[in-house]
Subunit: 188 residues, 2 copies
DNA sequence: ATTCACCTATCTACTGATAGATAGAATACA
DNA sequence: TGTATTCTATCTATCAGTAGATAGGTGAAT
């Protein structure tokens, strides 16, 4: 299997567990059974590795989002789809969202990495905002979308820290309650 | 001024900026103009320092919460008070909540530290839950409280990562919208 | 005389990073 | 085709810097 891809896999896993600054080239190398110098062959600097990890994560996440949206019934909005994506991500990995982790560490990250993370969040928000009623102002759409992303990220955080995924489920419930009200407002 | 207290101040600041694993004894020492060995005099291990930082943070936060609750008008519930506390904390420090940061890093932390962090969140939730209508089941009160804490933590995360405190404000709006509905439900 | 709050000096382990070598595969050229 | 060259992916060895931690010493305050 492709070493580069395997490195990204392990790096993503480790960062989601312990954060960027607690991940070392030697540990990554050990995991693959190679030497740390060989990791530098594929990713010359840690910053470049970090950027690559976030980049791939964001691409995959958005791709998955569009697949889920295509599969779900049309009356289920994008909000529900995003909630599902977050719930699936937590169930699958039992770990923090990569960007939830890196977003927290922002000020201790190379700028190139934190910029990628910001783009992940903005992409989430933009994707959601597109699904809101067109008679809402762009600012309102952005705000509503940000509320959803915030609630979901917080839900994951609590789930991890208190070791109980019910907290993400509760956060999703809050989000969908809001959606329900908006539906009533709109269709009134 | 008390060195021990100053160490806790600087450690808290640094952790909130960069995370636990990016904070070093040398940096803390430099900040106070002492040597790293002297830091070990006050806090023999990093773990003990970490525990002390979180402990003090939690105590102060809860104390502040009760002060705010005493000052606010009685019809403003505990939800609004907690929102205010979070907004004030972000405005004052322009940094992540200490426990929001450490909660994310949970799996890369000494267990003693992550336990203290979990207790912070649980204390937040319990404090909130106490303020909900007594005819709600304990489980429902806990869930509603957790929803609020999750939304606020997520709001801070987005505010930090996207460098715009409006995201916490938006999260608060989501929370208060929910509270408003509950008020209607209850008083109906 | 003891304790406190710091110091110097040092330890081992680990960090990201680099230089230079090597085996083997792929490619270019005669 | 056969030889020469280059590329790929890894290695060994090493670097300067930093990590947390410890031993033992110093001067001042109690």
């Amino acid at each position: 299997m492709d070493t580069q891809e395997r490195l990204l896999d392990v790096a993503e896993f480790q960062i989601r567990q312990k954060g960027y600054n607690a991940v070392s080239f030697r540990e990554l190398a050990d995991e693959l059974g190679i030497k740390s110098a060989s990791v530098h062959y594929h990713f010359p600097t840690k910053q470049q590795l970090g950027v690559a990890v976030v980049h791939r994560y964001r691409d995959r996440f958005l791709e998955n989002l569009n697949i889920l949206a295509a599969k779900s019934s049309p009356q289920d909005g994008r909000v529900r789809t995003l909630c599902t994506a977050y719930r699936m991500a937590l169930e699958k990995s039992n770990a923090h969202c990569l960007c939830g982790m890196l977003g927290a560490e922002t000020r201790g990250l190379p700028e190139a990495v934190s910029q990628q993370v910001a783009r992940f969040f903005q992409a989430n928000i933009d994707w959601l905002a597109t699904g809101f009623p067109t008679d809402w102002s762009p600012a309102k759409r952005q705000m509503r979308a940000a509320q959803v992303v915030a609630a979901l990220q917080g839900g994951i955080l609590l789930s991890i820290s208190l070791d109980d995924s019910a907290h993400l489920v509760a956060a999703i419930q809050l989000v969908e309650m809001q959606s329900g009200i908006e539906f009533l407002e709109t269709s009134r």
